[in-house]
Amino acid sequence: MTDVVSLLLLAFGPLAIGLLLGVDRRITARMQNRVGPPLLQPFYDLAKLFRKDRRSTNRTQVSFAVAALLLQMAAWCVFALGGDLLVAFFVSGAGSLALALGAFSVRSAYSQIGAQRELLQMLSYEPILLLALLVLGWQSGTFMADAQDESMLFLLPLVIITFVPVLAIKMQKSPFDLATAHQEIVSGVYVEFAGPYYGLLKLANWFELALVFGFLSLFFWDQNVYVSIVGKSLLAFLFLFVTVLLDNSTARLTREQMVKYALTFGLGLIAVNVLAIIVEAAL
């Protein structure tokens, strides 16, 4: 049974993310009083990109695009097959780094600025996500993805909320969309990747998002498999909606503000939650 679930998760996780991004664009359009693109638009975009002419600025760029995709896929495999959360987290981090290195390999000002901002974004979300996973592992007693069988909704509510800045950064949403700041640096890290290579990076982002939403879904669990699945999906949709709402109602922060706000907000909430647990245990 678990093997079947793992394989289904492995295959359909990224597809679900594609659909989720379609929903995201629909909700964004509705919030701006527009009709918006079809639900399958992210898939159309990918299909289009893979049919474009293959063009790259240099070979290094291509290697790093492939590396980014392979690392994100590896991280997702580790997670979906029930492996160690921390391993998945660090492999995915290496994937983000490959993206930044790919952008650094091109002599384009926008690409370079985008890459530096990507690194700053990693500096902002990685401590939060790592601590959130550490706290999860501390409470459930294990870091294995398939052994998380406890609902953390009431035990770690503040830790769950810290997924908002993490998702905003990973989904390239305002106020944290610095690396791909459209109005300032066109599409930042992605600016010099054309056609299929941009498609590879988009796909890498899908795997990356699948992992983050996967981490988020671990915080809900129920004895009944169906309740569990519905609860996990609802949690994912709720966070998607909050991220989209935030995207449409806030302006982009500067680099310093991003690091400051994301870290104080994220680490602060986790610290308060951990303190509350310790104090409650002591009483």
């Binding site: 299909a47 063009r55 599409s187």
Partner: protein, 142 residues
């Protein structure tokens, strides 16, 4: 199916080659809730490397000509070039002027011309939808 999916996401590059900004405003109007071209999957990418449809305005001043050529060359195939407005089509108010090339097609190959000074957003949308048909043929290699 694959070629059908592949033409459902035309990404735009808009470039002003010396227009009076009349046509540019109409191009931007496409992205507003009233016209909402994202219905067709169109997104303004402002980046030749990601673009599929080039919406070019202006009579191409001599300074803009090499830049237009560079942008055209940086856009990967298959692509569609649309000349938006009378200036872009044949440079009309600036006809025979000393400092313009007199239309986009003097510098790069053009697929579709949108008339009007300035061209209406509805006309640009019509051109883009026709452009998608043209693009479908290019994608399937006809």
């Amino acid at each position: 199916m694959r070629s059908d999916a592949a033409v459902r996401s035309p990404w735009i590059l808009h470039f002003d080659t010396g227009s009076c900004n009349g046509c540019d405003l109409e191009v931007w109007a496409l992205l507003t809730p009233r016209y909402d071209v994202e219905r067709f999957g169109m997104v303004n990418k402002a980046n030749p490397k990601h673009a599929d449809v080039l919406l070019i305005t202006g009579p191409v001043s001599l300074k803009a000509a090499p830049r237009l050529k560079a942008l055209y060359e940086q856009t990967p195939e298959p692509k569609v070039v649309i000349a938006c407005g009378d200036c872009a089509s044949n440079g009309v108010p600036f006809y025979d002027c000393y400092n313009v090339c007199g239309g986009i097609d003097q510098v790069v190959p053009v697929d579709l011309y949108v008339p009007g000074c300035s061209c209406r957003p509805e006309a640009i949308m019509d051109a883009v939808v026709q452009g998608i048909e043209l693009w479908r043929k290019k994608v399937s290699g006809q």
